[in-house]
Amino acid sequence: MSFKRVVITGMGALTPIGNDVSTFWKNLVAGVSGAAPITHFDAEKFRTRFACEVKGLDINNYIPRQEARKMDPFTQYAVIASDEAMKDAGFDTDTLDLDKAGVIWGTGIGGLKTFEEEVMNFSENGKTPRFNPFFIPKMIVDSASGVISIRNGFRGPNFITVSACASATNALIDAYNYIRLGMMNVCISGGSEAAVTIAGVGGFNALKALSERNDSPETASRPYDKDRDGFVLGEGGAAIILEELDHAKARGAKIYAEMIGAGMSSDAYHITAPHPEGLGAFMVMKNAVENAGLQREDIDYINTHGTSTPIGDPQEIKAIEKYFGEHAYKMSISSTKSMTGHLLGGAGAIEAAACILAIKDQVIPPTINHFTDDPEINPRLNLTFNQAQKREVNIALSNTFGFGGHNASVIFKKYEG
């Protein structure tokens, strides 16, 4: 049997720099930072007191209060993003085959805030076990995909992928493959995260993973800059509607781009540190390019994992130079985490959206906050520092790497019929 083709027909986004796709993209191209002092809890005693939070969001404008209170924020974000994407895709729900419509979502952690609140209640109330009956269904990571399927009546494949900061990319890959295999026609995919909480910030601080540039949050996420000092925690998510090509054409759908391949690999090296020579990063890009049936010279843009950590950034760059050779200096590269912060399990979703929109609008969003060159980073690379660049973008690749050594990459192409 031959594989089906898969296209993108809808998108939704809820991010630290915009609560819908158009605002997100406008600010991403304009180089707007989403970082600011933490408002979700009192962070005064924390080493890091800022993050990229979602802003100005009144959940009740999107989800009735009675439903919203049974969802952890990561699920609320998933619902808001997927509602926008479904509206954008414009399905006729009377004719859509709901048995062939699935939800495959990515989340790295799940209901951290819910877990914290319930355990703190237990601790503060004389250790009497009075757990809320909604505690478990709110907290478990698969609740986001469950809620999205209930909301839309999608009865096909339904689950969550978990691979830390590669989670949403793995979700997209699974959705892509199940559609390619004919196991569903349509999938709401993407990912979300809501880890700007006491334990989230405290835990990443303990790993010394977060930037501690408290006097200048908006310049703290500075991938590839000599003075980068860690990542900036972000939250939110994005939804991407994947659809089988003939199914999309039959209903006259708007097509943003085609998904043409994906790669996965594992560092098999260390639970948090990346492989020093970027071996996993090298393999995941190679696997993706080969899976898509491309030559490495076909890649126009890489949206890097580029989290702004001292050891993570150079290993990905080394892998790019090693794999792409001379072409590494001809393509465009950027880390949009310089603006959005790091959405952990949701990162792959908003960065896939960035790749798809780069293809649609033929513009590369920048890596902002570049002040000082790092001698470890080859200046011949075009890292799109500080300003977006217009260029021809036919094919874009998005890299994501997660704690545990998980690497996942996806490739999108301009749709040409």
Binding site: Q66, R130, P133
Partner: protein, 78 residues
């Protein structure tokens, strides 16, 4: 309406998102007020918290309507 009945009504309005006018003594949490079994467990917990008492499971099973909740609480709240 007793003070207890008024507090019970407020909890139900808050948790189930219903109108005050729907919260009549005869109203059944699940059949009339849109609660599912988890909502009902949560309501019992809220009553326990609000009135600072513990409702044993075998008693909680008999509380299905607004009136039954008020009656139980009026009898047991000290």
């Amino acid at each position: 309406m007793s003070a207890i009945a008024e507090r019970v009504k407020q909890i139900i309005v808050e948790k189930l998102g219903v109108e005050e006018s729907e919260v009549t003594p005869e109203a059944n949490f699940q059949n009339d007020l849109g609660a599912d079994s988890l909502d009902t467990v949560e309501l019992i917990m809220e009553f326990e918290k609000e009135f600072n008492l513990s409702i044993p499971d075998d008693q909680a099973e008999n509380i299905g309507t607004v009136g039954q909740a008020v009656a139980y609480l009026e009898e047991n709240v000290k």
